[in-house]
Subunit: 204 residues, 2 copies
């Protein structure tokens, strides 16, 4: 049956999927247990070791796939947003707002996963996670470059401008998930932050 199929080549994916859904309706990565995941997936407690040498490896794989999913969702939001309509920066403003909204949506829905993705690294971050994070950032970077090309944003180091935009939405997500911003304040706060970002970046 379908439950048996898990053990035939897809245990890794099954464990990750289970872990993600545990993160989504439980709270916090500290509640993730390799033994419990193995049990839920119908496998002995030693089996995950073939795919994740230790618990940390599972957490890093979750962070990596989290960044990949976030990248996809940002990209999708960008593509759905209206393109430039001729008036300088009009299309850009919509794409900026859509991207920020997509980020915050991800952050609220997958709060525990986001926390994992941005967890403090005492030492160095694993190469694969860092690369996935870079790919997410490159979506933001591309958006900034478009804004500069369209004349909606001042010229200047796009990397730095992109980091400030990312910091703004990540900071809002952090405040929201920790309960310092109520759910009904959230959309207004994001809108204000985007408007302020544009005001602080106006070219000319």
């Amino acid at each position: 049956m379908a439950e048996r199929a898990y053990h035939h080549g897809d245990l890794r994916r099954a464990l990750l999927a289970r872990a993600e859904s545990t993160l989504r309706d439980g709270g916090g990565a500290e509640r993730l247990s390799l033994r419990e995941l193995a049990r839920q997936v119908g496998v002995s407690h030693g089996a995950p070791r073939r795919h994740f040498p230790d618990r940390q490896a599972l957490l890093e794989a979750l962070a990596q796939t989290g960044f990949e999913r976030l990248s996809e969702q940002l990209r999708a939001a960008l593509e759905r947003a209206p393109h430039d309509d001729g008036r300088a920066g009009e299309g850009f403003e919509d794409r900026l707002a859509a991207t920020a909204a997509a980020y915050v949506r991800f952050a609220i829905r997958d709060a525990a996963l986001l926390e994992l993705m941005f967890a403090s690294k005492h030492g160095e971050r694993s190469g694969e996670v860092a690369e996935a994070a870079e790919r997410t950032f490159s979506v933001v970077l591309e958006l900034i470059r478009q804004g500069q090309a369209e004349g909606a944003l001042e010229a200047g180091d796009p990397e730095r401008v992109g980091l400030m935009l990312l910091a703004t939405v990540q900071g809002i997500a952090s405040l929201a998930n920790s309960g310092m911003v109520a759910a009904d304040q959230l959309d207004g706060l994001v809108a204000s932050a985007i408007a302020r970002f544009l005001r602080g970046s106006r070219a000319g």
Copy 2:
């Protein structure tokens, strides 16, 4: 001797102090163990229970004292910064920069503690932690009100402007601690963010 004195009325404080320093040079709250803390402080593993009914209670106490210390450091930075010198907003800009720098300093030094303070809350946040967080926010709020009174910031809901400022510095801290911003980029990023915040808020 001094080690014996721990057991006489100050076990709670001793455990918190130990936990804070473990957070500071270890990495992450998930490494905090009640049994290990009890051992380090020279007490049996059941003793902490008198002061912290469970592990979560210890973590919440850490978050609370974290917010209190952050409040103090922001206030101290504010008071050390030059006061208004007559030119509109000059004193304010310095105080704003000093406050942001103090926040980021705290965030870097106590990265794991900050993470605990802003950890995602599935349910509700404990009342005492929420109140301590509110007191930290009120320092930011007071700064914003001064800026508006001095004419350095546009009028408008100070709460919302304060949340955006807090989100900005918290977001930068998040990027720095997760390794997306290198240490040598950090000061420049904070300076840019503050400059941009002011540009987006200019009154008149």
